[in-house]
């Protein structure tokens, strides 16, 4: 009797520290940010002024659009590339461990530094100009990232994001791949499935859980990104997190900054929910 009562409590006791940690450092700041976003700082009353100020700002609509566009282009690229790299490493070709380490290098680089690296490639006195000049393809260096070439700006940001974040997708998918028992693939081969068929009908379905994790993590982080974007494009390609930062640090308005924060939270939540629904296990499905 005593034993079973203790056993019933043990799981709750074990999750308690995590629960407290998340409560103090995640849930509480989240509630506070939400309150900041809807409270008038002088009267303390509930107000939608900050939201109105946010939506009427000149940079609001472009920042929503650009954040979604960058996410919509960069994430599929990251997932596809990350999957290809993970499969390549999993095939254990000669030198695969060096390849793995090289691919993982960007994980250790801060996003601001990543922005700086790519800016130093694309500026007028940058590496790309030097290379093209040395190859004799251009007669004099010129700037690539200019305000009248929004396509170039977007491409540079997507490239930086893909370079910076594909490695983390690869690591998540690689660990997922390693969880899949070899038996499944061997059985598929016994039944005459080619490599493509094995990938499509055996590996990918079993990888669904890892894909879901990678998608959720990458999408949430994509909504938060702003340092490399600001580095490369200034404010010509405004993004939500960048606007939040500028409203806080430049305009000294925590209310509107929080309104942006809440918007990012809602968007991240909506996307996470969608991923969880779309990639949920079918009844009776086996997951690696």
């Amino acid at each position: 009797m005593v034993r079973s009562r203790r056993a019933a409590w043990v799981p709750y006791l074990l999750v308690l520290p995590t629960f407290v940690f998340l409560g103090v450092f995640v849930a509480y700041p989240m509630v506070q940010a939400f309150l900041l976003g809807v409270t008038d700082p002088t009267t303390g009353r509930v107000t939608l002024d900050h939201v109105a100020q946010m939506t009427s700002d000149l940079h609001f609509a472009p920042s929503v659009r650009d954040t979604l566009v960058i996410t919509a282009i960069a994430i599929p690229l990251q997932i596809a590339l990350g999957l290809a790299m993970a499969l390549l490493v999993q095939s254990r070709f000669a030198g695969h461990s060096i390849f793995l380490y090289l691919c993982a290098v960007p994980i250790g680089i801060s996003d601001l530094a990543a922005g700086l690296i790519w800016l130093s490639i694309f500026t007028e006195r940058g590496f790309l100009n030097a290379l093209l000049f040395d190859l004799g393809r251009i007669t004099q260096p010129g700037p690539f990232l200019t305000y009248d070439r929004p396509g170039w700006l977007l491409a540079a940001v997507v490239l930086t994001e893909v370079w910076r974040a594909t490695a983390i997708v690869m690591l998540i998918l690689l660990s997922g791949l390693q969880l899949i028992p070899k038996d499944y693939q061997e059985s598929a081969q016994v039944f005459g499935a080619g490599p493509w068929q094995t990938l499509r009908w055996v590996t990918l379905p079993l990888l669904r859980g890892s894909l879901q994790t990678a998608l959720i993590i990458r999408t949430i982080l994509a909504f938060e990104v702003f340092a490399p974007v600001m580095m490369l494009t200034g404010r010509l390609l405004p993004v939500l997190a960048g606007e939040s930062y500028l409203w806080y640090s430049l305009y000294r308005n925590p209310g509107v900054a929080s309104a942006y924060g809440v918007l990012i939270l809602l968007l991240s939540g909506a996307f996470t929910w969608t991923y969880l629904r779309l990639l949920r296990p079918h009844p009776g499905e086996v997951r690696a």
Binding site: R125, G142, R235, L236, Y248
Partner: protein
């Protein structure tokens, strides 16, 4: 009290131990501390200046070290951006228990600090400083330090915004014109000439990046030079003519300008030949290659040559744990020898007319020549940063930079944009009941006519 002291000792021991791991440089600095620290509590000095790493290093190892050497009091420097800087002072005031004993900030932040009741009246300390023989202060700086019925700060440093140009670019300056008396038409012509000479590449640069200071060029330089006012004539026909000019100027401005935040970088790389920026953001280029660059005054427009005078002031928070130590530090920072060292180390100009005259060599002279040509021009008039907007001070500049974005980059109708932005300006000044910033007439609340 004894509890707090015990706490301090353990923390110091902890820091000293940590510094062994942190590296030789940090270790040598902290390791030296106990020798000074015996009996002398440290003074914490916070500032929104000295943020770049090199400046912080200089401030710690040279500026503040000099104070510790003469007084035996160690200084802990906290340098952070405007946002966290004010937040820290507010947090200490709210807690009713402070750590900061002296603070130094931009003139424009003081109205915010006054409205939050964070700082002490500096008039008594000013009286003590005035009694010292070697202490002089520019009159206009002292005038700016009085606000809300008290003296909010002791003048510490000053700066302005000027043009820096590669000497090789002067050959493209319009024929027969004097760069030291540049007009806005000269500037445009110069930009066009450089573009021709560089095979179509644009070589004039402005800091239009998100943290760049281009907004200051709009409200403190272009507007008063074209319209005679920063706010009052915001949507006037003169202002429309100014925006038409700015569109043409943008046509000869380097297309990467929207990422520039510190103009010394593109100047040193050769990406731009002529750049406008804050003196502190140009000086690294002059320091590295003093023989290659000149400093030129800002241009004159139809209504004269307007420029901004940036003032940084020192004060003591109400919650200061050691106001005497803070006052000692302020006395040290306003000494003539410290002022000269500050100019050489950080590029900020002395607040004392006597000290200013004594800088006569190297890059310091190059900058001083340009700055005095600007301030001493017959058609010069000073624009001051807006005051009295309180907690909403930071909303002022975006009204101008957003207008730039809409008119120059997006090509919207000038008068429509100006009318809409003028309504925002009027609402801001109405809500805060603030006076127009000089050179505008002193109307309260300020309103674009």
């Amino acid at each position: 009290m004894s509890v707090r002291q015990t706490g301090r000792v353990t923390r110091r021991q902890l820091i000293t131990r940590g510094s062994v791991l942190a590296g030789a440089l940090a270790a040598s600095r902290l390791g030296a501390r106990p020798a000074f620290g015996a009996g002398a509590p440290e003074v914490v000095f916070s500032t929104d200046q000295l943020i770049p790493l090199q400046e912080q290093e200089w401030a710690r190892t040279s500026l503040m070290a000099g104070f510790t050497k003469t007084t035996g009091i160690p200084v802990r420097l906290i340098a952070e951006g405007d946002g966290p800087y004010v937040d820290r002072l507010v947090a200490e005031a709210k807690a009713g228990h402070g750590t900061i004993s002296a603070t130094g900030a931009l003139h424009g932040l003081y109205p915010i600090m006054l409205s939050a009741n964070l700082i002490r009246d500096m008039a008594p300390l000013q009286k003590q400083l005035d009694a010292m023989k070697d202490r002089t202060f520019y009159r206009d700086l002292l005038a700016a330090s009085h606000m809300g019925g008290m003296q909010a700060f002791i003048p510490w440093m000053q700066a302005t915004y000027v043009f820096a140009a590669a000497k090789s670019s002067l050959q493209y300056f319009p024929n027969g014109r004097n760069p030291m008396r540049m007009t806005y038409d000269d500037l445009l012509q110069w930009g066009q000439n450089m573009q021709k000479a560089a095979g179509g590449q644009r070589r004039l640069g402005f800091p239009v990046g998100p943290n760049g200071l281009y907004g200051r060029f709009l409200h403190g330089y272009a507007y008063p030079s074209f319209t005679g006012a920063q706010v009052e004539r915001f949507k006037s026909p003169d202002a429309v003519a100014m925006w038409q000019y700015l569109r043409r100027l943008w046509g000869v401005t380097h297309p990467s300008s929207f990422t520039y935040e510190f103009m010394y970088e593109p100047l040193l790389s050769g990406e731009v030949w002529v750049a406008w920026d804050h003196t502190a953001r140009l000086i690294p280029a002059l320091r590295q290659r003093p023989d290659d660059f000149v400093v030129l005054p800002s241009p004159a427009g139809p209504r004269g040559r307007s420029f901004i005078s940036v003032i940084v002031g020192l004060s003591i928070p109400k919650t200061a744990p050691d106001p005497d130590g803070g006052a000692k530090l302020i006395e040290y920072l306003t000494r003539p020898s410290t002022q000269l060292a500050t100019l050489q180390g950080d590029g900020f100009f002395p607040v004392s007319p006597q000290v200013a005259k004594s800088a006569t060599s190297g890059w310091v002279k190059v900058v001083a020549d340009g700055v005095s040509a600007q301030a001493g021009a017959a058609d010069a008039h000073t624009a001051l940063l807006p005051i009295g907007l309180g907690a909403r001070t930071a909303e002022f500049v975006p009204i101008y930079t957003d207008a730039f974005q809409l008119i120059v980059i997006q090509g919207k109708n000038i008068q429509d944009v100006l009318n809409a932005q003028a309504a925002k300006l009027a609402a801001l000044y109405q809500a805060q009941n603030a006076v127009c910033p000089p050179p505008d007439p002193a109307i309260t609340p300020c309103k674009p006519e």
